[in-house]
């Protein structure tokens, strides 16, 4: 079960990106890696779907992008969380907690039966 990476829930990719960018600005590949690491390999971001999601978030104003030089001295596009993005992250986390709590409750109810 652990060996098969789970598909991401619709919409949860954005929350994960917001979370991944909380610590520091990162480039696209790094964001994918970070999500991979943070979920200990459970959640795997399809690389092809990451970039369109980033573009959508740019439009929503949650993140902004700029070209920077990496530690290996290469040019890369970095994504930076904006204050609107931080707000969004908090409200999405709260919403997620409420939803997952409710789902957990339902599941607990079912297993106790």
């Amino acid at each position: 079960m652990v060996s098969e990476p789970a598909d991401l829930l619709q919409g949860s990719l954005e929350l994960l990106v917001l979370k991944a960018l909380s610590l520091e600005p990162m480039h696209g590949w790094g964001i994918g890696q970070r999500i991979d690491q943070m979920s200990r390999g459970v959640l795997h971001v399809a690389q092809g779907s990451l970039y369109p999601a980033l573009q959508r978030m740019l439009r929503k104003g949650w993140i902004r992008s700029e070209w920077r030089i990496t530690e290996n001295n290469r040019r890369a596009r970095y994504y930076i969380l904006t204050s609107a993005g931080r707000h969004e992250r908090e409200s999405q986390i709260a919403a997620w907690r409420r939803a997952s709590g409710a789902i957990n409750g339902i599941l607990a109810f079912e297993s106790s039966k």
């Binding site: 690389q47 092809g48 980033l54």
Partner: protein
């Protein structure tokens, strides 16, 4: 803030799409490299790592597409792409593009020009507050439905008795000599009452308007002047007030200056507006005033009509002795209608012609674009195969059409701007033509017309491309298919339509041309060569009484006779072929009109014997005027031959007597002679005329008319000196009778030229269309024709077949066009002189000419068809 980042991203994607693309490629490249490094670090073979990294990302192009979709500007980018594609494909087809743009821009330019003129002349509101309440009041003659001006009697009765108007004012237009500093000049003046300016709602920009007190006969003469006159002669706006203006020798105090741009008021152009001072009337006539009133709030046009009719009834019995036409009524008309009136017809004719041309241009470009669509069939088929959607496929012709009309619209507007400027210069007599100009609404019209044309020319190619997209695998080798047949049918219909539209235009132009020829052949009754005229107006102030003026005229004629180079000289108040329009009514004593019926009207001039000699008109019967015809004896007149034949057919008119001007108390006037015909009311009118001797006249204006053996300019200078020798303050106007004749032909000549250019354009377009269609047919049927030739068909038979096909369309079109032309007959009739709108010869010649053009235009492709080489044609498939 979200909307802002959204907008920024979308705009960025649109504006910097190329940079965005580059950056995206770089980002993907970076991603793949990092992924490959990571995999290599975990121990994969570097080459294998890179391949796997690519596979993990998926197709780079697909990711880029997905990101582009995420920017949300995809439809716009597609549109821009398609538009660029449309522009590119137009550039690849420069002949088609140039032809379509040229044709469309001429059509749009002409359409816009006509709209501008029609808009200003016909549809614009008058520039006065609440113009719908402004009425003009005149004498309406039931008999011939003409509106005359008001007499002093009418005007005073209306002012005293009317209940319909808030304000009622009067104006009388005339010429006046403006003297003082510099050379004396003749200017137009409108003498007005205080009510005139008030009714229109016009106020002086500086100073005051005309006040009621200024109308009193005892009041010192005052005038309001136009801004232009103040600038030119009175030292500018504010400085003009209080200065003096000498009009016809009378000094007027300038009390006000009108706002800039107010050169016309109530349809009258004048540069000075003196106060009108009405003298008590002696009889019902003359009719010399225009009445303008502003309706009271809530009073309808109908009740104003009834009000005016009631006033007519009340004054008729009081003045019946000097005015016997009981059917004449005081009646209001909308001021706007009275100003625009006559011009509506010619502008309407013009507009109809232009709309036809615009229609023909659109049809023509449609046939062009259809031909192009069929030539592009392989390309379209390829696009369908590559997966282009129907919408995007159908969008292409529309985008091309819009690109074409965009360019044509800009060009057309420039053409219109130029045409409008020339028009204002060429046709200054059009009412309110000085208000014509390009403005936002005009540009809007041009854009709307361009848009509609763009859509119209795209409709058929769009339909054609949609049909194609239903059957995407069609090979594009020009073999005849159902779609082609439908396209050909559509094109044939369009060609028929073009001929149907060209025929009425050509017929109209030909009729106008024949009418113009007739007009220029009209015997104006005089020999204009070498005849010059010098016109003079005597100011009331310095020539107050009839004897003063008669003395001046006699002295002028006498002194001129000594001038070198003259073979004859005389004086007349009216000059042919279009005089000042002075007419008079009369009633024959032996043949009076029935009671209550309007008396006869006739152009009435004052002339000396020398005048007839100068213009070469002979005395046919009776005697010339003599020194004995003085003011102390009963009045006498000479009549023209046409007059004599009209009223006394087969009898002698000499010795007959008439009552002149409705003056029943005056002694009767006797006809003493008949002279040759001269036209004074225009070339198209009859040559009725009556002449009075100068000693029995009251004329303030007249012309010295001389036949010269010298160059006209030298003679005119000498005559001018003669006038100056008598009175140096008189303004003098010079003219030659040759120039007057030319001017009389100018208007009809101009409309003939305009109509002819439209017709030629339409015929050329129709010829191009049939040429295009037949060339296309020949190409489509190349194989069939090759087979026929191989089977022994004679080339001439092939050519006949193609020409015959073309002629079928042209004949149907011409027949339909004849039907359309029958609709314009009644409209055209009023513009024609000496030729009927249903003239059989012209109709036949025009139809034949149009068919001949069609034959020639289809003959060229037919010639090509007859030369088709059978082997090549069949092998080409």
């Amino acid at each position: 803030m979200t909307w802002f980042s959204d907008l920024r991203e979308r705009a960025g994607a649109l504006l910097y799409s190329r940079r965005r693309d580059r950056e995206m490629a770089e980002e993907m490249e970076f991603h793949i490299e990092r992924e490959a490094e990571e995999r290599a670090r975990r121990g994969a073979d570097p080459r294998e790592a890179r391949r796997a990294a690519r596979a993990a990302l998926g197709s780079v192009e697909a990711v880029k597409e997905a990101v582009r979709d995420a920017t949300g500007v995809r439809p716009l980018q597609d549109l821009a792409g398609d538009f660029r594609y449309a522009l590119r494909s137009l550039r690849r087809d420069p002949i088609y593009t140039a032809a379509a743009i040229a044709v469309l821009s001429v059509g749009l330019g002409a359409g816009t020009t006509v709209f501008t003129v029609a808009d200003a002349v016909l549809f614009s509101e008058l520039p006065y507050p609440e113009p719908d309440r402004l009425l003009r009041v005149g004498q309406l003659y039931q008999q011939n439905d003409t509106v005359w001006q008001l007499s002093t009697v009418d005007a005073q009765a209306i002012l005293e008795q009317q209940r319909s108007f808030e304000v009622f004012g009067l104006v009388s237009r005339s010429e006046a000599a403006l003297s003082g500093a510099g050379t004396p000049v003749t200017i137009s003046v409108g003498r007005v009452t205080s009510g005139f300016l008030q009714a229109l709602g016009v106020e002086a920009a500086v100073g005051r308007g005309i006040a009621a007190a200024d109308e009193s006969l005892e009041a010192p003469p005052v005038a309001v002047v136009s801004h232009t006159l103040a600038e030119q002669r009175l030292g500018g706006g504010a400085a003009a007030v209080g200065r003096s203006l000498t009009l016809d020798g009378v000094s007027h105090v300038v009390v006000g200056v009108l706002p800039p741009g107010t050169d016309r008021l109530g349809g009258i152009r004048a540069s000075a507006w003196p106060a009108l001072q009405l003298r008590p009337p002696q009889r019902r006539g003359p009719f010399w005033l225009r009445g303008i009133g502003r309706l009271r709030e809530g009073v309808s046009f109908e009740s104003a009509t009834a009000d005016m009719a009631a006033i007519s009834e009340r004054i008729f019995p009081l003045w019946a002795s000097s005015f016997q036409d009981r059917t004449a009524r005081l009646a209001p008309v909308l001021l706007r209608d009275s100003i625009v009136g006559g011009a509506a017809r010619s502008v309407g004719l013009f507009a109809a012609a232009v709309m036809l041309v615009l229609l023909v241009t659109v049809v023509n470009v449609t046939t062009l674009s259809l031909a192009r669509a069929s030539a592009r069939e392989p390309e379209l088929a390829l696009r369908v195969t590559l997966g282009a959607g129907r919408v995007r496929l159908a969008r292409l012709p529309l985008l091309e059409g819009l690109a074409l009309v965009g360019a044509a619209g800009v060009l057309g507007l420039s053409i219109a701007a130029f045409a409008i400027r020339s028009l204002v210069r060429l046709a200054p007599s059009l009412p309110r033509v000085d208000e014509v100009g390009l403005d936002g609404r005009i540009v809007g019209f041009a854009m709307a017309a361009a848009l509609v044309s763009g859509v119209l020319i795209s409709v058929s190619p769009i339909l054609a491309s949609l049909r194609r997209s239903k059957a995407p695998s069609r090979q594009g080798d020009g073999r005849r298919t159902g779609a082609d047949r439908r396209t050909t049918a559509l094109r044939s219909a369009l060609v028929v339509a073009e001929f149907a539209l060209a025929l009425p235009l050509l017929l109209g132009a030909s009729l106008l041309f024949r009418s113009f020829l007739e007009l220029s052949r009209v015997d104006s009754g005089f020999d204009p060569a070498g005849v010059v005229a010098v016109s003079v107006s005597l100011p009331q102030a310095r020539y107050p009484d009839d004897p003063d003026r008669q003395r001046f005229w006699r002295e002028l004629e006498l002194r001129s006779q000594g001038t070198a180079g003259l073979s004859a000289v005389g004086i007349a108040t009216e000059l042919p072929p279009e005089g000042n329009g002075s007419i008079n009514n009369f009633n024959l004593i032996d043949r009076p009109v029935a009671p209550g019926v309007a008396e006869h009207l006739v152009p009435w001039s004052v002339a000396t014997p020398g005048y007839f000699e100068a213009i070469g008109v002979r005395l046919l019967e009776g005697r010339m005027f003599s020194e004995a015809d003085s003011g102390d004896v009963p009045p006498v007149v000479l009549v023209s031959r046409t007059w004599a034949q009209r009223y006394y057919p087969g009898e002698s008119a000499v010795g007959r007597q008439m009552i002149e001007g409705g003056c029943t108390t005056c002694p009767p006037t006797t006809v003493v002679g008949v002279v040759g015909d001269v036209k004074y009311a225009g070339l198209t009118e009859s040559a009725d005329a009556v002449y009075s001797p100068i000693a029995q006249s009251q004329s303030r204006s007249a012309s010295l008319v001389a036949r010269t053996r010298d160059v006209p300019a030298a003679t005119l200078r000498r005559l001018r000196d003669v006038v100056a020798g008598l009175d140096p303050e008189l303004p003098v106007e010079e003219d030659t009778l040759v120039a007057r004749l030319d001017r009389a032909l100018e208007g009809p000549g101009r409309s003939t030229a305009v109509a002819a250019s439209f017709a030629v354009a339409a015929v050329i377009l129709a010829a191009l269309a049939i040429f295009g269609l037949m060339s296309y047919t020949v190409r489509q049927r190349q194989r069939e024709i090759g087979v026929r030739i191989a089977l022994g068909a004679r080339p001439s038979a092939i050519a006949r077949m193609i020409v015959g096909r073309g002629m079928r369309y042209a004949t149907i079109g011409t027949a339909v066009g004849l039907g359309l032309a029958s609709l314009e007959v009644r409209f055209l009739e009023s513009f024609l002189f000496g030729v009927s709108a249903t003239d059989a010869l012209t109709t036949a010649a025009v139809s034949f000419g149009l068919l001949l053009v069609a034959a020639l235009a289809s003959w060229l492709p037919a010639l090509g068809a007859s030369r088709i080489h059978p082997v090549e044609a069949i092998a080409a498939e």
